[in-house]
Symmetry: C2
Subunit: 208 residues, 2 copies
Amino acid sequence: MKQIAESTVRRLSLYLRFLEDYRRQGLETISSGDLASLGGMTSAQVRKDLSFFGSFGTRGLGYSVNALAHRIREILGLEREWQVIIVGAGKIGAALAQYRAFGERGFRIVGIYDVDPARIGVSLDGTIVKDQRELDADLQSVKPDIVLIAVPAEAAQPLLERVTKAGIRGVLNFAPTPLHAPSGVTLRSVDMALELELLSYTLTSAMA
Amino acid sequence: MKQIAESTVRRLSLYLRFLEDYRRQGLETISSGDLASLGGMTSAQVRKDLSFFGSFGTRGLGYSVNALAHRIREILGLEREWQVIIVGAGKIGAALAQYRAFGERGFRIVGIYDVDPARIGVSLDGTIVKDQRELDADLQSVKPDIVLIAVPAEAAQPLLERVTKAGIRGVLNFAPTPLHAPSGVTLRSVDMALELELLSYTLTSAMA
DNA sequence: GGGTGCTTGTGAATGTTTTCACAACTTATT
DNA sequence: AATAAGTTGTGAAAACATTCACAAGCACCC
C-alpha cells in the first residue's frame, strides 16, 4: 500500500475518539461534516483521509459509527493488545504507569524498570518496579512489543541501543533529547520542553 | 512576516539543542551539514529553515555556534522568562512540576492547583499545591503567560474556557482529549495515548 | 416509482514543504 | 595573486498535502 502521511494517521486517531463519543451517546451514524466540526477540519479532509483505506460510508447517510470505529481500530492496529514496558520509574515513568488512557486502548504495562535502589520494589499502580539489570533477561522472556523510555536525557541513547539490540521494534521516547534508531525500528518522541518552545514561538510572534 | 511552518519551528528547537551541545564541547562553528547529520535531515533543509529568518552563516565556514544559538533563542522567544502555572497535581502534574528541562529553558513554574483536598498543601518540587478555587484570583494577580492543563479529560475543556476568559493566551494541554480554544489563544496538546497509537499503526503496517 | 435532499468518494486544482543544484562567497594554500 | 576546497543562500523543481467541486448513490416521502 502507498505510504500514508503521519498527519492522516493522527487524524484517524482523533476520528476514533469522536466515534467512541458518538457511540456512548447511542448515535448510530455520523457524517464527515460531523467529524470535521468536532475536530476542527474540513469534511473533505475527513473523506480523503478515509478514502486512503477504502469506502466505508453510505451516500446520503454518512458512516456507521460502529463499523467505522471498528475499521479505524483495525487500521491503527488497536484490535490487539500491545505489551509495553517502561524504563525509568521517576516522576514521568510513574505518571505513564498509571495513565488510564493507555490501558483503555489495549496498551498493557507489563514491566517497569529503574536503576535506583530506592525505587526498585516499589509498586506503581500495581506493577512492581524491577531492577534494570533484569531488563535484558526480561526482554528475552517477555518479548514486549513497545518500550517507553522515561530515563534522563543522557541515558536515553544507550538504552535505545540496548533494547533495539534485544529485538524491540517500537519505542516511544520521553527524554528531552533527539535519539537515533537503527532502521527497522520505529521511534517516536514526546518532547514536552519542545512543545513549550513551540508555544513560546507562537506567543512571541503574535506579540510582534 | 510570512507564516512559518510548524515543522520549521520544531526543527529550530532541535538545532538549538545541537548548538548547545557544540558549545559545551567548546566548538565555535558548525555547518549546516553538521546540524543535519545530528538531526537526521538534509543540509538544504537546515539552510532553508534558517533562511526564513535571515542569513546567519559565513560561506565556506559555517555558522558561529554562539551567534546562531542566540538568534534562534530570540526567534523562539526564549530570551525572556515565561511564567507558567500547572492545573492538576496528579501524577502528570507532579511530573511536570519537577521537570528539569522546563526550568533550563526559562519556563518558571509559579503555581500548581488542584481540587483534591488530599493534594492541596503538598509541596511538589518546592511549590505548594494550592486550592483550585484560588485560581481565578491568582490569574488576575500573577498574570501567568502559560497554563499547563494536567486535569482529567472531562475537566479539560471547562478549564480551558475558564483560563482563556481570564486572559491566558497560551495553553499546553496534556489531557487526552481534543480541545477547542477561542481565536487569539494558542493551544497545543501533548497526547501520549495518541503517540502510542501512531506507533501501533506503524508497527502494524510494517508487519503486514 | 419518481422526485427531493443529503452525503459520499474522488479527480483536478491549489497550496505547502522539501529537495535539488549551483552561483556566490570565504578561507587556506602555494 | 591565483587556485583549491568548502559552505552558504536561494531560485526552481519536485514531492506532498489539502481543498474544491461535482457526479454518483442512497434514503425518505409522496
